[in-house]
Symmetry: D2
Amino acid sequence: MKLESADLQKIINGYYEKYKTLKTGHLADYIPELAKANSDHFGIALVTVDGKIFTAGDFSQNFTLQSASKPFVYGLALEAIGREKMLSKVGVEPTGEAFNSIIELEKESHRPYNPMINSGAIAVSSLISGKTFNERLGKIVHLFEQFCGHSIAVDENVFESEKKTAHRNRAIAHLLKHFAIIEEDHIDEALDLYFKQCSLLVNTVDLAKMAATLAGGGVHPESRKQIFTAETSRDILSLMFTCGMYDTAGKWAYTVGLPAKSGVSGGLFAALPGRFGIAVYSPLIDQHGHSCRGLKVLEDFSRDFALSVFSNGVR
Amino acid sequence: MKLESADLQKIINGYYEKYKTLKTGHLADYIPELAKANSDHFGIALVTVDGKIFTAGDFSQNFTLQSASKPFVYGLALEAIGREKMLSKVGVEPTGEAFNSIIELEKESHRPYNPMINSGAIAVSSLISGKTFNERLGKIVHLFEQFCGHSIAVDENVFESEKKTAHRNRAIAHLLKHFAIIEEDHIDEALDLYFKQCSLLVNTVDLAKMAATLAGGGVHPESRKQIFTAETSRDILSLMFTCGMYDTAGKWAYTVGLPAKSGVSGGLFAALPGRFGIAVYSPLIDQHGHSCRGLKVLEDFSRDFALSVFSNGVR
Amino acid sequence: MKLESADLQKIINGYYEKYKTLKTGHLADYIPELAKANSDHFGIALVTVDGKIFTAGDFSQNFTLQSASKPFVYGLALEAIGREKMLSKVGVEPTGEAFNSIIELEKESHRPYNPMINSGAIAVSSLISGKTFNERLGKIVHLFEQFCGHSIAVDENVFESEKKTAHRNRAIAHLLKHFAIIEEDHIDEALDLYFKQCSLLVNTVDLAKMAATLAGGGVHPESRKQIFTAETSRDILSLMFTCGMYDTAGKWAYTVGLPAKSGVSGGLFAALPGRFGIAVYSPLIDQHGHSCRGLKVLEDFSRDFALSVFSNGVR
Amino acid sequence: MKLESADLQKIINGYYEKYKTLKTGHLADYIPELAKANSDHFGIALVTVDGKIFTAGDFSQNFTLQSASKPFVYGLALEAIGREKMLSKVGVEPTGEAFNSIIELEKESHRPYNPMINSGAIAVSSLISGKTFNERLGKIVHLFEQFCGHSIAVDENVFESEKKTAHRNRAIAHLLKHFAIIEEDHIDEALDLYFKQCSLLVNTVDLAKMAATLAGGGVHPESRKQIFTAETSRDILSLMFTCGMYDTAGKWAYTVGLPAKSGVSGGLFAALPGRFGIAVYSPLIDQHGHSCRGLKVLEDFSRDFALSVFSNGVR
């Protein structure tokens, strides 16, 4: 079926009805706060590059960004320091390892493989410049507020919970410092910035707008503001495609074929370049940390309408 | 610049002139026959999905397919045995390792990570069915003749050279047999089939037509014959994108953003879905086994016209 | 208790009685012939460096040497080519990997880590010189006949079974050839020699004499012939200690503390330098390929009499 | 030559004269304080299990223990918590990796491979019990004072230098906490204890007495006090043998054949069970962190008198 002629609201409603009773997956338990989420919550939002919005279910329910923040903070740092310096700090290669792997840092370059895994994202956060912690945090919050079109807050309970239990991320940060990928002296502050970024509260529509901005070459679907350059948007989408789904990136490319990113709190979004962004929120996740309902909706949607970037023009 | 309004012949000529004096790289030396190639040879061909052909340089010079054969034989096997069985034999995940790696076979699944590396491609060749060796080889040759539109031959010198020196590939085949990925009894015959496939002779235009067929959803640009289904074409392009350039796949996605595949003899091709296939032949290769001139032409072309699948619609 | 004052025959009998009803473990199944062994068989033999022999149970039952051959063929090759050349081909470092690992060959040196794992042992076999296959095999057979004091034979059924199913070892041999560790052209012949060596038939007393020769600085306990130099004996014992029990070498050193070697057919032997060799045969093996009864007897014996080389002089 | 009949003082003097002009190696530079050592310093001490002392050169020069402390603190913890609990926290297998590796923690068990590498030693330090930091440090200091026979101090400059730069060790500690190998809450305190232990000041004679205690089954050569049980001493020697020289453990076993341990500050000691301990101090180290002069002296000594534990009784 051609997507052009389809009724998008009806499509979204259909996937919502189909999967609202699906109960597979589990709540994230690696930090206690996330385990308190309501496993019934399920929202879908699609935002076209020209600003049409379609929603279903709990689309206005807030959740923390977690790893869904990574592509955007990467874009922010990339535009500030440029490609060459960025590539000297964080690579662009997929890794067969999980999102929280530390192993690749021991290999030849001692750079994180890519900015979608924790080691890369922590390095990227440390590259956000600013005289004070608050100035740096302010830049990140401002970026996301531009996407959302409203002010956003840090979930302080999630932040504190994350901060307290994140021994693996703390290990990663010290190793990054050891290899001089993180340059600054204050490891604790660098991690706090990363944890704050992960703890920012958005809803499904906000996330879909963020995706739609990338799909639209960096232009916000409503404000029409150029938040990222077209080049940055393309680089982000490219990285999401090869690295966004961690060690299932290849399968995702093969079965869905859209650049996407998930967060362990249950957010999952994808972008069809030139067309739209779509986001799903449902906190029941699989063993890779991806929202189970989110995976189902995107797999169906891509298959039903041949959305893969590799079937473009011939569907 | 918009590609639609560009003069493709002029563009091709421009890249040819720009890089014909480039002498970086070396001739493949892992088999003696390949080291006999003429390092001056340089051909470019672009074929649109509706059959327009643009060429420059030594576009009619024959060379052996080598790894450029892998995506197509994968498609042949995939259509014969189906996705489910294929995924049980060969995965779709990129690996951080080189094209001839054997390490991933020792990991949990004992499956090759993907069909673009040697282990996966050898497994795929062994999946081509047929009562006799010649029947199986016949299927592969027939496939490529449909792409080329003329009869093609095996370079027997390259085949013999490859067969004699391929101790690493032989090791891989025995390990695949050990793990029951290769089911048949005759390892030597399975390898011979793979070496024959790698030794098939094509020219740059042939290769561009193969790429254009994938770009066109499996429909041949000239004969209009549906050689692969649209689904198979999409799956092949998806695999080329995430795995086709081996351990530089991520960088390729980031800097070029087109599904592509290279062969160690100097062929390199890419496809822009819905638009065209492009191929470059030049036997001087870099340390990853990619044609140096080929890389330059494709990097320039993608950057100059924003061809990345992730800038689609917004270039 | 001091071993000097102990009645060795009584001790051996005690362990035999204690463990003859133990049924843990399984028969080796990786080659069909080995799975035909009688799981009740259980023999113990202790031979002192001055030729006293103590036995219990099925000590005259024949079994194939398998990996128990490795230390001795290593000694044969070492004395022929010298330390320097040997170290250029095969290392002396323990590996955390299993006995049939192939991974270490991909690492920096491309040498097998040590001669106790299959890759190292295959490389060592290929270093035995001789104009013909039979001459090379003859050297190996002669070596073992010197230890046993009688003629020995190859179990041709085991040899054929091994040869037919050894795809992993065949993979290893091709990779060794690829990295020029194996120099000769005939991979198949090199492997045949290795399989023949593994298929040589000995009994528990034979194995204990082999161990006693190493314990006695290379001097055979009965014939008083210097089969290996004292240096070679020491090198072999050293390698057995750090690498002989594969990935459980550290635990073995910690709990038993004697140089030892096991074979997958159920033979296990150890040497106390200056004192004796001891061998156990029982074909029920654990997941590491070590004889279960053999482990029990040696653990008890070492603990009961403080035999560890590191408690020497203070027990 | 038989060691029994040799003049030990003359032997020690000989090695001292032979190597005092050797200038190979470099000063440890990973912490600034160690780089301030005097590269001319060179001391040798041999202490027999019955308390005879032989010395040469700068045997009374103080240096920090560094990794030479690891075997002894391991013994202290082992006697306190028992073998079973210890093995659940820290393994006994050699690793092919370097002393500061973090990779093995990601593997199946998440236990450090052994207590001779940093991850294992940090885990061991965290197992020393005590209500306060000072109580725990007091236990460690007391242990070493028993060996030395005099009070010892922490080099506070080295401690501070180590503490400030140890990002890799800090990463290891957080990963150990993540995997619940370290149970206590205060990572910083656990690391401080480890850094203090590494910064304890001893001289070459002290170190030789420590070694002689292990050689004597835990009985101090002078005080005749049983500092460790015979079993603990044997376990420590066993671990030193298989793991003490890190990724060169196999070569060390093959060429020297004595349980040994080195520290990056230039101390190196070995023990011949039942006979003596020997220590060398010289701060010029090789790329593995072993004292270059120390290696030479011990290699010569072992070869000249066939000291390997595997030639025992037959030299």
